[in-house]
Amino acid sequence: MMMRMVLQRLGIGIATLFVVSVIVFVITSILPGDVADIILGQSATPETLAALRAELGMDQPWYIRYFSWLGNLASGDLGISKAGGASISSLIDSRIWNTLIMAGMVSLISIPISIVLGLWAAMHPGTRLDRIVTFGTLSTISVPEFFIATIMVLIFAVKLKWLPATLYLTGNENWSELLKAMAMPMITLVIVVSAQMIRMTRAGILNVMSSPYIEMAILKGVPRKRIILRHALYNAIGPIVNVIALNLAYLVSGVVIVETIFSYPGLAKLMIDGVQTRDLPLVQACAMIFCAVYVILILLADIASILSNPRLRHPK
């Protein structure tokens, strides 16, 4: 039963990936912004346009172009970047590890912080420290990521002069230099992602706290600490795991801003450069990677909540 539910979710996930690839392709290929037009720019004549379209395979019907694009994508051939003519796979290969390292370190730091702080706030609701945590996290999630980043630059780079405001990685740094260079973007992302996770952990626990069996425990006089750690936490694990996966998905949009402001040489920076120069093949490839990661993380969140909740495992 459980296996079937998980397989069903996997099926939905693959279907979603397929739909996402269609959307990405349709938006970047069918809409009036024509690649041939952009390449030729002002020097376009009807003849050169037609010739270039034929060369790019753009005179084919869209579904044929879509399937050849999808086939190339699946076999790792991401095409040629318009700017400079380098192969997109090599461009991405040099950048994607930077982004993955950053995302991994941010998750390692932010997940424990968020769970501890969220639990702690839920254990002492209404106290001054809980209010500070609630207000702080609410403020953090209401402001744009670049606001946090700007304040970080102001404090750590300009006022305290501890860390560099922008970083230039040469690839030859040792670990401590690398860590120092990555500190600012990492702190920013940790703050942004943790705020959301703390709020949802706290809300998840408080939500369980309002269920009848907890009321029963309160009424029979069980101490609050024991209620949370022994009764509430186990039922909140599902939602919390769910929140963690969702927030790592939220990292996807966070890295776009943070890599740009700190000129961190990651995949998102590559994609923004591609959007600015309207390098559509590059944008397509990067967008597909980000969207696939997003869909997979949401899928994991879904499966985690099925596994942790017996009621979802055995639907009536």
Binding site: V19, S139, S142, P144, A165, I218, I257
Partner: protein
């Protein structure tokens, strides 16, 4: 004449009697804590600036009247620069005041568009059901499966960026969540007894939507409006910050932060010394004050609703 008035009195008396019944619904009053009141003042302040900003600002948003770029507050023959100048020597205060119209104004338009699309399609899907519901819901799910910033980036890569594209883009992206809420609400309302009674009376579907569904769905949707507006402001200002939103030289808070980042370590004071220029901080604070204030109001309203034993005990 006197009889009519007497009748009205009787009706009023009856209504009063109903109001005192024990199961009469409590009168809804919007009570805000002092935080909520303060936050409402901030929001009202910015909405007033949206309306009158350009007419009270000391300079035009594009006038390069300042003595130098990233200067601290100073005066010259063109007037006063209370918050200093930006990277092109323009008055920061004027650009923040003008920018309110672009940042908040465009976000408001996009949110209104999202609401009109989301509510129309949501109610349509709930009322019609069947294959119409199926198609709209599947398209909606597909758009929701993409991170909004990614969708924004690929559309802008394909179409370029202009104000109508931004409004349409944010409108479509955020219509998806409005659609889900409106559809769920309308589905709940459509199975209520009073709607079935209206069906039985032989009312037309439009009458039912207008008189039964909309009035019952409008309150929950209205509280959601604030949150949605915050998301749209964050979305559009993030795109502007990336240089892909509202295009220069128009002033807009997101792009102002980006343009003036270099000033954080490269400002100039009146004696020519290098100091910190806060030209990037002011627009950042403007966005933050607006979005935090709206979230505080929404939080305040939703904290007032509900309240169980456990909530009081813990």
């Amino acid at each position: 004449m006197s009889e009519v008035i007497k009748n009205e009195d009787e009706i009023l008396a009856k209504l009063d009697a109903f109001a005192e019944l024990p199961d009469a619904p409590p009168k809804r009053k919007l009570k805000l804590s002092w935080v909520g009141k303060l936050a409402s003042l901030v929001v009202i302040f910015w909405l007033v600036i949206v309306a009158i900003g350009p007419s009270i600002s000391p300079h035009h948003e594009m006038d390069m009247d300042g003595d130098d770029s990233f200067m601290v507050a100073h005066d010259n023959e063109y007037g006063s620069f209370y918050l200093g100048t930006d990277h092109l020597g323009r008055d920061t205060l004027s650009r923040v005041l003008y920018g309110a119209r672009n940042t908040i104004g465009i976000a408001l338009l996009a949110t209104l568009l999202a609401y009109s699309m989301g509510i129309t399609l949501g109610i349509l899907a709930a009322v019609k059901g069947g294959w119409i519901d199926m198609i709209i819901s599947r398209i909606n799910d597909a758009i929701l499966a993409l991170p909004s910033i990614m969708l924004g980036l690929i559309v802008i890569a394909a179409l370029g960026s202009s104000v109508p594209i931004l409004i349409g883009l944010a409108g479509v992206i955020y219509a998806t969540s409005v659609f889900r809420i409106a559809r769920a609400l309308a589905q709940d309302i459509m199975v209520q007894d009073f709607v079935e009674a209206a069906h039985a009376r032989g009312e037309r579907i439009w009458w039912i939507i207008k008189s039964e569904v909309l009035p019952n769905a409008i309150m929950p949707l209205a509280t959601d409006f604030g949150l949605r507006l915050v998301f749209v402001v964050l979305f559009i200002s993030s795109l502007s910050f990336l240089g892909l939103g509202i295009q220069p030289p128009a002033s807009d808070w997101g792009s102002m932060v980006r343009e003036n980042l270099a000033g954080l370590s490269g400002g100039i004071d009146l004696d020519g010394n290098t100091v910190t220029s806060y030209a990037a901080i002011w627009p950042a604070l403007a966005i933050a004050s607006f979005t935090i204030a709206i979230n505080l109001i929404v939080d305040d309203i939703s904290a007032k609703s509900g309240g169980s034993l456990a909530k009081k005990m813990i």
